[in-house]
Symmetry: C2
Subunit: 202 residues, 2 copies
Amino acid sequence: MSTYHHGNLRTALVVAAADLARAHGPDGVVLREVARRTGVSHNAAYRHFADREELLAEVASLAMDRLEEAMLQRVDAVTGGDPRTVARGRLREVGRAYVTFALSEPGLFEVAFAAHKPQNETAPMPPEAGPYGVLGRILDELVEAGEMPAERRDGAGVVCWAAVHGFAMLHLHGPVREAPPQEREHSLRLLLDTVERGLTRR
Amino acid sequence: MSTYHHGNLRTALVVAAADLARAHGPDGVVLREVARRTGVSHNAAYRHFADREELLAEVASLAMDRLEEAMLQRVDAVTGGDPRTVARGRLREVGRAYVTFALSEPGLFEVAFAAHKPQNETAPMPPEAGPYGVLGRILDELVEAGEMPAERRDGAGVVCWAAVHGFAMLHLHGPVREAPPQEREHSLRLLLDTVERGLTRR
DNA sequence: ACTGGAAGTGGACAGTGACAACATAAGTGC
DNA sequence: GCACTTATGTTGTCACTGTCCACTTCCAGT
């Protein structure tokens, strides 16, 4: 048989797992179904991943990449004259991108934060990489532009992230999950207003 | 046998399920283990709950009650002269209570927001009940005291909830889950500052 | 005292993650 | 060219889960 060895099963498995995640969330990523879809027997995955959790972690990492892409795309579109308004605009856009991604790719988004037990292999937490890094750079811009007091810079990343993350969660599983889009947009605007005002004012 | 009929198995099952939730999160609530702990055979639960999801929903409701208690306890402790400072203090305390509960009872907290498929039986969403109601009343106080513009009242509930919910999530499963308590306290303070400033200022 | 239905039991079944033993393909040194 | 080693897939199995079904036990109302 020419197809005994798949070639690059590992990535194929991750892709299939990501599809499942997209469609059915973290619990939908079932090892045997992933194998089925890849046209390979169950247990084949164990040659590439220690266990289900490790495959899930790979999907999570993929999801983080997608999230970062979405953020960068929107953020980089904000440009033009005044560094102050640019920085403010970017802060808003990065928040909007986060929420938009979460609501349009709920499955991937959940998986990204469902990686449970182990911290990753080598890198414990490179703070300047990934979505958090994107946000951090924008906050730095805000400080440099004189729009945010420098002493607020420290926890600001967590504050911003918490706000949009919570917003997304509440609209995915929380009590406002059935709110009409119009109301959702209103809340989001107020959220972005509040954070911007809270971080920059006075 | 005197113990063939348990008496009030339903609540006993919910309690056992809650214990499991406390210890191991939503996925730790395993029907068979719940039955085992209650000293009853598997399947006994099916006389009281349609399926696992329904038992989980009951635990979620219990968790919501605990959360509301914790919030009320801290909020009601804020009292004294000026209605303005009282209202502001309560807003901070309700947020602090939310985060504290989430971090000290992560299992229950997760279950409270893991109830997936069905909206509840009778009440679709009584907005004035539960934790959301507690928060809502505080926001009303803020408006009445003249500390928050009335036109901001509408989405304010979602904004506050999102902020603390996201904060809790990030510290439970997110990238800052291993942050030292000191750093966490700093971020929380900044979060509360930001929301307060953002909602009240001009 | 009898009986009908509610509450609990025991036994199945399909589906899951994981492990161990086996089979096959691809290299690798000679 | 050719044996041998190693990475990669496969089959078979196990314990565990949620759920369905048929059966048993007990209480309540006549």
